[in-house]
């Protein structure tokens, strides 16, 4: 069954390289092919950079953007959700890394990542709020 799930994910080539001598059996499954572990690690690192970029973007909006005329909290309304989203992505990506690593060790199918959905929905909402803010604040105030 584990082999079947890997086949469905197109990883038959990779399992050929699995070294039986290096595969340490333990109570919590088998040590997976190093490439799966490393790919999981890269995915986590990529999400971490995304989280860091979201925090930087939120901070830049609040600290560098000129205030919206007539909407004193306008910058905070956009910036704070971005920073919170960055924080959430950092935590969730670590939890998903842990879950994926456990699934790899046990040969179970991996759970589908929730991060793309969270990221898309939150950024869409922030975009709509930013558009509304740009319309309401009315011009650059020059």
């Amino acid at each position: 069954m584990p082999r079947l799930s890997r086949t469905r994910r197109g990883r038959t080539n990779a399992s050929r390289h699995q070294d039986p001598a290096g595969a340490a059996e333990s109570a919590d499954g088998t040590e997976p092919d190093a490439r799966f572990t490393l790919a999981n690690e890269r995915t986590f690192l990529a999400w971490s950079r995304t989280a860091l970029a979201l925090v930087i973007a939120g901070l830049a909006i609040v600290q560098l953007l000129p205030p919206f005329p007539g909407v004193p909290w306008g910058r905070h309304i956009i910036g704070t959700p971005l920073i919170l989203l960055g924080s959430a992505v950092a935590v969730i990506s670590y939890l998903e890394w842990t879950g994926n690593q456990r699934a790899l060790r046990r040969g179970e199918p991996m759970a589908r990542s929730r991060l793309p959905g969270i990221l898309a929905v939150t950024i869409a909402i922030i975009g709509l709020v930013a558009a509304a803010l740009a319309l309401v604040s009315g011009g650059t105030g020059n």
């Binding site: 000129p66 905070h76 919170l84 990506s93």
Partner: protein, 105 residues
Amino acid sequence: MTTPAEDIEDTDPGMARERTELAWTRTAVSFAALGGVILRGHPYAGIPILGVSALIWQLGRLAGAPGAGRSRPRRLLLIAVAVTGVSLAALALTLIGPESGGLRI
């Protein structure tokens, strides 16, 4: 052209180790960029972030080493804690920090 020798393929199949080391480097550079930008306005916040960046750089050099699997959860937890810490500091700065007049370009 020439196919790589079998032993090369075995030491780093799919260049997975090298790609992972490069991903660590990118993460370290991201932290360094943030630390460098913050250093101007808030030196006491920028210096620790640059320190974390240097630490991630060092950890990235170990990432590809065979048999490094045991310490992996702790190394990745460091990244998660660092990003969360930075975002909480940013949140505190935006909520209780001094009001910024914005950058005049």
